[in-house]
Amino acid sequence: MACATGIPATDFSRERQILTSAEQVTPQDHVVDDGEIISTKELEGLRNILERITPFMLSCTSAASEVDGSARGEACKHRPNVVGTRHREGAECAPVGARESTMWFPADAGEIRRARDFVRSTISDWGFGRIADDAAVIISELAGNSIRHADSAFFVTVSSHRSDLRLSVGDASELQPTTRESSPSANAGRGLVLVAALSDSWGVESSPGGKIVWADLRR
């Protein structure tokens, strides 16, 4: 298939290792939260964002042991418009040496820390350990914005090619992040100052029903 975006395909076998508390569902995509489908609107919004940037897969948010096959079956039956096959084959698009991993997180401030841990461990495995602290700050700021300003679930994608690393945070809000003048007396608005300073470049792309903020770093 054509790879219009140039974004490397997700290595799903790798992702499975990362999602230690979740179970990846193949070949169809289901999102099951304790056996209940997450609200259709939110799910569709997220799916639309994801679909734009990468071949993707939705995963159970509950531990595999807590969600059995029948719960998944129920979910499919009741939400055929949401739960469908969306996994696109695209392995041939991945440049040699490119890696990518995506994880998404519910709209809960406690998830910001998990997002940092996900990024830290992933990029350390890829040999970017030296910039793990910088990446953690960037993710913390971007995910923090998703929670604080958008109250949105968010996903984090980490992709690398040779010595380049891209961090992306997508959420279901079209609100663009804004930089505010920073001074010692202003207690907010420093987040994006940090993102800009710790990355080589950064930017925002709108996506259907949401946006993606990305930051590029180099090893």
């Binding site: 401030a109 940092r116 602290d133 920073s182 420093r190 987040g191």
Partner: protein, 124 residues
């Protein structure tokens, strides 16, 4: 010399705060005083949007009406982002001298990048 203020007698609020936060598995805020009687607030863990308000409240209760000098022992603060920095800056707005002891490299970097180095006394 570093000594613990007997919390049960002089700082009941500080003790309550430590227990509350440890239980929430967020961050630990403890207060001591050094030989010069500077209150030393020890921050342990990570600060982000999820717990910045909690940490702020705990610090405020710990230092009470201290206006002259407060020191933060950051040797076990593994991580903070701009929300953590905002907590420290709010303290600096009402306390004349805010000392940051042993910040991790990333904490030091955040302070430098955001141009607020002059607000604090940073010591290694």
């Amino acid at each position: 010399m570093v000594w613990h203020v007997p919390a049960s007698r002089t700082r009941p609020d500080a003790t309550a705060t430590v227990e509350e936060l440890v239980e929430a598995d967020k961050i630990e805020v403890g207060i001591e005083a050094d030989g010069a009687r500077t209150p030393v607030v020890k921050l342990v863990g990570e600060i982000d949007v999820s717990n910045a308000d909690l940490v702020q409240g705990a610090i405020d209760r710990s230092i009470e009406d201290q206006r002259q000098q407060v020191a933060f022992d950051l040797s076990d603060l593994r991580f903070m982002d701009s929300s953590g920095l905002a907590v420290l800056l709010r303290v600096a707005k009402r306390v004349a001298v805010v000392e940051l002891r042993n910040p991790a490299p990333i904490v030091r970097r955040i302070i430098q990048i955001t141009g607020v180095s002059s607000v604090f006394v940073v010591s290694s």
